[in-house]
């Protein structure tokens, strides 16, 4: 059973626009929510992460919004650039049990000129 649902599957955004990727989880024991960025032929790179004690975290152009009651979290990429074109994965972890990450299905983002 998939425990982290991610949408959309693919996304096309114009340069300078806002990219928004959404994830929803089921397991209320999850207490750590990272986002990974993966370029073709590379391993996933940790982008930004949040814990459920805050509703938002911002790092540069990247912001995570977290809604604990709805069990949803999202990644916002402001002023999207062609270099942001990659696949983005959300993930969730119950840090109390062996630190295992459960990944979403991924979103392929394309930023056009």
């Amino acid at each position: 059973q998939q425990q982290v649902k991610q949408s959309p599957q693919s996304l096309i955004v114009q340069k300078g626009g806002i990219s928004i990727i959404n994830c929803a989880y089921e397991n209320t024991a999850f207490d750590y929510f990272p986002w990974y960025q993966q370029f073709p032929g590379k391993g996933p790179a940790l982008l930004i992460a949040i814990r459920p004690d805050v509703s938002e975290k911002k790092e540069g152009r990247f912001t995570i919004s977290f809604n604990k009651s709805a069990k949803q979290f999202s990644l916002h990429i402001m002023d999207s650039q062609p270099g942001d074109s990659a696949t983005y994965f959300c993930a969730a972890e119950d840090t109390g049990t062996a630190s295992k990450l459960t990944f979403g299905t991924g979103t392929r983002l394309q930023v056009t000129l």
Partner: protein
């Protein structure tokens, strides 16, 4: 963070053979994990590599097919045994630097003919 290397970076193998993938970290880490990423898909955890003891496998993965070694806190190997074309994937190791944060290696792209 941690610098993670994997060998080989890619390989093409014949059906029925085995391939051992190496993962090296530049610092001692407590947690090491092995993931599989099938073409265009998300990441699936194969097992947790435990230093000095048998690996902990996830549902659907067995030791006879994916034997794992972890002789010390900086190195691990994953063997893909008796390969079939269905084993064609990217195999990634990751390390847990803290209780929640995981960093990934560049991956090994395996093609089985």
């Amino acid at each position: 963070s941690a610098v993670i290397s994997q060998k080989p970076s890619r390989d093409i193998c014949q059906r029925g053979t085995s391939l051992t993938i190496q993962c090296q970290v530049d610092s001692q880490v407590t947690m090491m994990f092995w993931y599989r990423q099938q073409p265009g898909q998300s990441l699936t955890l194969i097992a947790t590599a435990n230093q000095g003891s048998e690996a902990t496998y996830e549902s659907g993965f067995v030791i006879d097919k994916f034997p794992i070694s972890r002789p010390n806190l900086t190195f691990s190997t994953l063997t893909v045994s008796n390969m079939s074309p269905e084993d064609s994937s990217i195999y990634l190791c990751s390390v847990g630097v803290t209780t929640d944060t995981q960093y990934f290696g560049p991956g090994t792209r395996l093609t089985v003919l």
